[in-house]
């Protein structure tokens, strides 16, 4: 009897903790102290109906960490702008995908049918985004997706109501591959996660690295979700000679791999190259000081020396006590983009097609994503940064920018038709041996000498 009472008490305590929400549907608001001054107060139009924006994120499940940061960055922007855009109040409602497609779709349906949203932001997990985008298309609600997409989306096509703000995973890797080949790296070994994102993170890099003269001496695939033991990986790496190691192991997999590299003394013996999906402030804290010097490619760098980025990072760190990563940067940028677009539309979202069409006209010269615009093919183009992990000076690791590359689109410098004629990246196909002639390039200036 006493045991049951204790358990009941513990359960009640947990219920209180679980229900500890606030006006923003259970998501913590940024701590109000020392927030940057809100921009000049917009005059509210008394007749304006508020614009309702649904934010669909993984607040539970394996994507919860990213989802929480996304919501915080999103909220930070609107707090700074008093939840106003173009004279119209902005109301935000949240949905939890639980990192699951069926739950995410059900939540998306609830946001549209019960909460009457005008615009959907999210989700994050790719396998949830697909069915949600089909649902939004069916319901004619515009949707903005702020995570690198994979090439299968390019091949299969996406609904007209969906707008993606970022380059593909493969394109981000392609920039790094070319840079590595043109900057003294001749022999590279890769370790990548054995699933779709890992295949593309690696494939983009390998494709351009080999195109521009580099040699892949070893490709190692690790189970997605982490291997129980990385000793076999280390053994294989120790058996080959390379001048750089490319890590294509997203998030938790990257942490496990880097821990193994450090343990066996390999982390500081070679240059490590990587990708946005691997290197993030959240994981750098776990990597430790040995992570200094890691280079990666991404559209956002929290240590980038420009006003927009530093103001955002300072405000986020003030509010939440940590540096925002790429997920936070993306959602803050999306909020900026949405605000700009609504203002251009006179403080309204007239229809899905008009909103999406206006997004195509927007050009942003300076933001946390650098310059951003949409090309004639509907691809979002933004700056890509060659980032380096450094100590900020207070023992905190973050990414600073060494070089900036211009976005080129999903096929990078390759002709799109020729690129799509190749198989999708997989463990069996990493783009080695293609392209075979300068005809496969958009601009002959990008064609390497040995193909001319």
């Amino acid at each position: 009897m006493l045991r049951r009472s204790v358990i009941a008490l513990a359960a009640a305590t947990l219920v209180v903790a679980a229900c500890g929400g606030d006006d923003t549907d259970g998501v913590e608001e940024p701590q109000a102290a020392d927030q940057p001054e809100a921009e000049e107060q917009e005059e509210a139009d008394p007749d304006a109906e508020p614009i309702r924006i649904g934010v669909l994120m993984p607040l539970t499940g394996f994507g919860a960490a990213a989802g929480e940061e996304a919501v915080q960055a999103w909220e930070l922007y609107w707090e700074q702008h008093n939840y106003m855009s173009g004279g119209t109040p902005i109301e935000v409602v949240y949905g939890d995908t639980e990192s699951d497609a069926s739950a995410g779709t059900a939540e998306a349906r609830r946001l549209v049918e019960s909460e009457n949203i005008d615009l959907l932001i999210g989700p994050i997990v790719g396998s949830v985004a697909g069915p949600v985008s089909d649902l939004m298309s069916e319901m004619d609600v515009p949707q903005i997706y702020g995570v690198p997409t994979n090439d299968l989306w390019i091949r299969d096509g996406v609904p007209d109501t969906l707008f993606t703000i970022e380059a593909t995973t493969a394109e981000m890797a392609m920039h790094m591959g070319r840079w590595a080949a043109e900057n003294g790296h001749e022999r590279v070994a890769t370790v990548c996660s054995d699933y779709l994102t890992g295949w593309e993170t690696c494939g983009g890099f390998v494709n351009t690295f080999t195109t521009y003269g580099g040699e892949i001496v070893e490709q190692i695939w690790t189970p997605a979700g982490g291997a129980p033991d990385y000793a076999p990986v280390i053994s294989r790496l120790q058996a080959v000679e390379y001048d750089a190691l490319y890590m294509g192991t997203p998030v938790g997999d990257g942490v496990l791999l880097f821990s193994a590299l450090s343990e066996f003394g390999l982390a500081d013996q070679t240059q490590i190259l990587s990708h946005k999906v691997v290197i993030d402030p959240g994981t750098l804290g776990v990597y430790g000081p040995e992570a200094e010097g890691i280079l990666s490619s991404a559209p956002y760098a929290e240590g980038r020396d420009n006003a927009a980025t530093q103001e955002f990072v300072a405000a986020f760190e003030e509010a939440y006590g940590r540096i925002p990563g790429t997920t936070g940067g993306a959602k803050y940028f999306i909020a900026h983009l949405v605000d700009t677009t609504i203002q251009e539309l006179g403080g309204t979202i007239p229809s899905a097609s008009e909103f999406i069409a206006k997004l195509h006209d927007i050009r942003i010269e300076d933001s946390v994503y650098g310059t951003w615009h949409v090309d004639e093919d509907g691809n979002a183009l933004h700056d890509h940064f060659l980032r380096e992990v450094v100590d900020r000076g207070d023992g905190t690791l973050w990414d600073v920018v060494n070089e900036t590359w211009s976005g080129r689109g999903p096929s990078y410098v390759f002709d799109m038709d020729a690129y799509l004629a190749q198989p999708p990246y997989s463990q069996d196909y990493q783009g080695i041996g293609w392209p075979t002639s300068c005809d496969d390039f958009v601009d002959e200036a990008d064609c390497p000498a040995d193909l001319q």
């Binding site: 229900c19 539970t60 499940g61 497609a101 059900a106 609830r110 019960s114 299969d156």
Partner: protein, 340 residues
């Protein structure tokens, strides 16, 4: 007062079969009324309740009759769903042909998996089914050229005749109702009786000459059949199937529906699915910790209502969770019995 309550319960218990039938008719009336008076949101919710109820009832067949808990049941649903999606995407089939492919794929998987578990019991049965489910998930996630990998398979078409949300709801209602009737008949059949006998004492049934392994295999495949049907309905509703649905998490979720609703009663999984799926969109926005709420509900059920919500309701109404009245015998009545 107590005697009056006991007498009232006794009267109710005497008509418990009629009451049960009445509840079934009421549930059917509610289901029929949804497309007539409900909103698009409740229509979608109703459709999901039907599909998940069938899925949970197929799992409960094993749990109720043979005390076997499978944590690989998402694979059965996934087999049906992926069978439909693959047949449509890669072979250009229409829904009906693809549904047949899904059914064949699901039953093949069920037979193969059933052969592995027919001699397993208790924790070993659970662990083997976990492994089966994760093997299936792993193949689905890796075989991207066929299954779309992490992206899943989108744009799965519904039957042309039932392509609108309302029409598909009616289709699902008829299909699920038919399956429930079949499940009920199976449950009440002599085979169902044998399954319960094995669940109560497999040694005794073996001594009586029944092949325990064969009946386990049979029950597993009957459960797999109905889960596959649920998978076909699932992919038609969502127009999509992805690897997260067939992960271990999905198997745990359907087990929760059955356990919280009451796996020992035939209608328990329906009550569990309806309760949890209805609560989720209303409780979820109040907290971003829905899984904690779900876990707490499970703890409460396990501690205070082991026969689930249906069992708890029966105890309240009849004084017994089994629906058989708990008869209160007075001292005079006891004396009469002793004197013969």
């Amino acid at each position: 007062m107590r005697t009056a309550v006991a007498k009232f319960r006794g009267r109710l218990a005497a008509h418990h079969t009629t009451l049960a039938r009445g509840m079934a008719v009421l549930a059917l009336l509610v289901a029929v009324s949804i497309p007539l008076i409900g909103t698009p949101f409740t229509l979608g919710l109703g459709n999901r309740i039907l599909i998940y109820s069938l899925w949970a009832m197929s799992l409960a067949l094993l749990l109720r009759n043979m005390h076997l808990l499978t944590l690989g049941h998402a694979a059965m649903l996934g087999a049906g769903a992926y069978g439909v999606a693959i047949a449509q995407h890669h072979w250009g089939m229409g829904f009906w042909g693809a549904a047949l492919v899904g059914l064949l794929f699901g039953m093949t998987l069920s037979v193969v998996f059933g052969l592995m578990i027919m001699r397993a019991t208790d924790i070993f049965f659970v662990m083997i089914t976990v492994a089966q489910g994760m093997i299936f998930w792993g193949v689905i996630q890796r075989w991207a050229s066929v299954t779309g990998g992490d992206n899943g398979m989108r744009n799965v078409a519904r039957p042309e005749q039932f392509s609108t949300p309302v029409a598909y709801y009616w289709f699902t209602l008829v299909a699920v109702t038919a399956c429930i009737v079949l499940l009920y008949r199976f449950d009440k059949s002599v085979v169902g009786l044998r399954l319960r006998g094995i669940g109560d004492s497999d040694e005794r049934m073996s001594v009586l000459g029944y092949s325990v392994a064969f009946y386990r295999f049979l029950a597993f495949n009957v459960a797999g059949f109905f889960a596959t049907i649920a998978g076909i309905l699932y992919v038609g509703y969502f127009n999509f199937i992805g690897p997260t649905t067939v992960h271990l998490r999905g198997s745990v979720e359907v087990a929760l529906f059955a356990i919280i609703g009451g796996a020992q009663s035939f209608a328990g999984p329906i009550v569990g699915a309806a309760t949890l799926l209805t609560l989720r969109p209303y409780v979820g926005p109040l907290t971003d910790r829905w899984p904690i709420v779900l876990g707490l509900l499970l703890i409460v059920v396990v501690l205070y209502a082991r026969t689930g919500l249906v069992g708890a309701a029966r105890r309240l109404v009849f004084g017994s969770s089994q629906g058989v009245p708990a008869v209160s015998v007075s001292g005079d009545q006891q004396e009469e019995v002793r004197q013969g």
